[in-house]
Symmetry: C2
Subunit: 321 residues, 2 copies
């Protein structure tokens, strides 16, 4: 495809984008009408939305449009899975500059479509407008299939805290990229294209998870949301947290404690869940800590019994953002 | 409230925004978790998304934040109604500059909340990030309550074309504002804050509408979508289209045929529907034309038998955009 999105025009671009989509049995009416119609067999729909901005959440020199699409879809689909639901549909609201090559939104859509396929969902609608900054807003929908939604608020003292998926890989990959390197490739790839363990969300719900979240702000910060919502303290055992040897190597090369990436790195969209003590967890889950009655007034997350100083949540408006 | 959104911080702003929301019985889990849970009693969910950008879709000197919120919600909720569904929920993805006064997003949210209340829906989730251009992406969800969705594709030759709601008021209001005036107030208000006839959408479905759309690009352009999707020609009778006397006055003052506003003005979010000939329409519907077998290869919309030259759709990337 040649030319810019301005040359292609709004309707030309929308035709190009929708022509690449695939469908699923849940899609009763796809893009092209006033609204889409998606099956919701559970009689409840789970819904979440997230925005990615160029320069803030991705860089075109570090990530292809395809990877941005994969990532933008993944972070929304992971939120659906982290409720215990199965993703069904995605809507895309896209802002693109007129001078952007038309291949960019087209490859973005390919990435969104492919990530949706991984999660069992399909793109059912969207909107495209011209603007200065590439802005990718995605809304994802999901179905609970008779499961109770697993919120952040159900953790109880004595419950076990477990994770599944990758932790700190995206942050280590970002550290590599920030220093001008393109390898180790596995970490750079993890930054460009997270692989959330979608199936683990509904599976955790079936295993009786009392609380659950995906890791988007960092393990300590996101467990902090569970601690606050549930009114429990959470203590993590650092020895139980997996730090791959290669991540340790990168840490030494760039002068960062790799545990920092594992505990505070977001964007891998691992899933953390809290379970009753008697749960029998499949091998892909790793028990990393425990919930307890709050020791102080404010529920908090500790690592080996002590506060993890560098752990603060990511504030998109804060001075460091 | 004092200060900027940057001073308030991401979490402070989210707290402020969510504290102002109201709920409905359909909201089973509102904002604050990984995702929301909304009732979908019909076992299908209707979903649509739209983006508004500052400078392109609204101006802060012409519209208050509250009005932008009402309008942004209205255009999405109208899309739900135009499928024959009842709006249930809205999600907001918001981009705001750090230096923006914090009152702006707060008043925006008040507007979104109030428009949702008019339509019977509630805000259930969102995302807020910092960026250069104010960007308001809204996704609306709705429930069909056992009605078949009314698409753009079901119009048949001989069907009658009817409208309900306001037509051309927003365009006339914009013409007034563009020339530096603030009155007549009713038209300026119509531009700032559309009043879609939400209830008319499900009612039209119950009356047996064969095709339906909300008017967002202009009457002729949006009926063109129905003509194309249904494979019919549509002829409108200009004498049947209501041109209020005050709109004629504005047209004379600014040198525009007011019929142009009525036929091509979007943003009022009136609802156009196509019905079998034997339909008994309530008084608020006005029959303005008729569908016919296509005379040529391409289905088209005519006015009094002739093409309406100025009627082209609004292309957000086109040279005139």
């Amino acid at each position: 495809m040649k030319g810019t999105v301005g040359e292609l025009g709004e309707f030309g671009l929308i035709r190009e984008l929708t022509s690449r989509l695939t469908s699923t049995p849940a899609v009763q009416l796809g893009p092209g009408d006033d609204a889409a119609v998606v099956a919701a067999p559970d009689r409840r729909v789970v819904a979440t939305t997230d925005v990615l901005l160029e320069g803030r959440h991705f860089r075109r020199d570090w990530s292809t449009a395809y990877d941005v699409g994969r990532k933008a879809a993944a972070q929304n689909l992971a939120d659906i899975a982290a409720m215990g639901a199965e993703p069904t549909a995605v809507l895309l609201a896209l802002v693109v500059p007129a001078e952007l090559p038309a291949t960019w939104p087209v490859e973005l859509m390919d990435g969104i479509r492919d990530e949706c396929q991984v999660a069992g969902a399909a793109v059912v609608g969207g909107d495209v407008v011209r603007g200065e900054t590439i802005t990718v807003s995605i809304t994802a929908l999901g179905d609970l299939r008779n499961r109770p939604p697993v919120t952040r608020a159900g953790a109880r003292p004595g419950n076990l805290v477990a994770v599944t998926g990758w932790l700190g890989w995206s942050a280590a990959g970002l550290a590599v990229l920030s220093r001008g390197f393109r390898s180790p490739r596995a970490f750079v790839e993890a930054h460009r294209r997270p692989e959330p363990p979608y199936h683990a969300g509904p599976a955790a719900a079936d295993l009786g998870a009392t609380a659950m979240t995906d890791i988007s702000d960092g393990l300590v910060a996101d467990l902090g949301h569970i601690a606050a919502a549930s009114g429990v303290d959470i203590d993590l055992r650092s020895a139980a947290v997996d730090v791959p040897a290669q991540m340790t190597d990168i840490g030494q090369a760039v002068g960062v404690d790799p545990l920092h990436w594992v505990l505070t790195g977001g964007e891998d969209h691992a899933i953390a869940a809290v379970f009753p003590r008697d749960v029998k967890l499949p091998a892909r889950w790793r028990i990393i800590g425990e919930a307890a009655r709050p020791a102080g007034r404010t529920p908090r997350v500790t690592v080996d019994g002590a506060p993890w100083e560098k752990a603060g949540g990511w504030d998109h408006f804060g001075p460091g953002a």
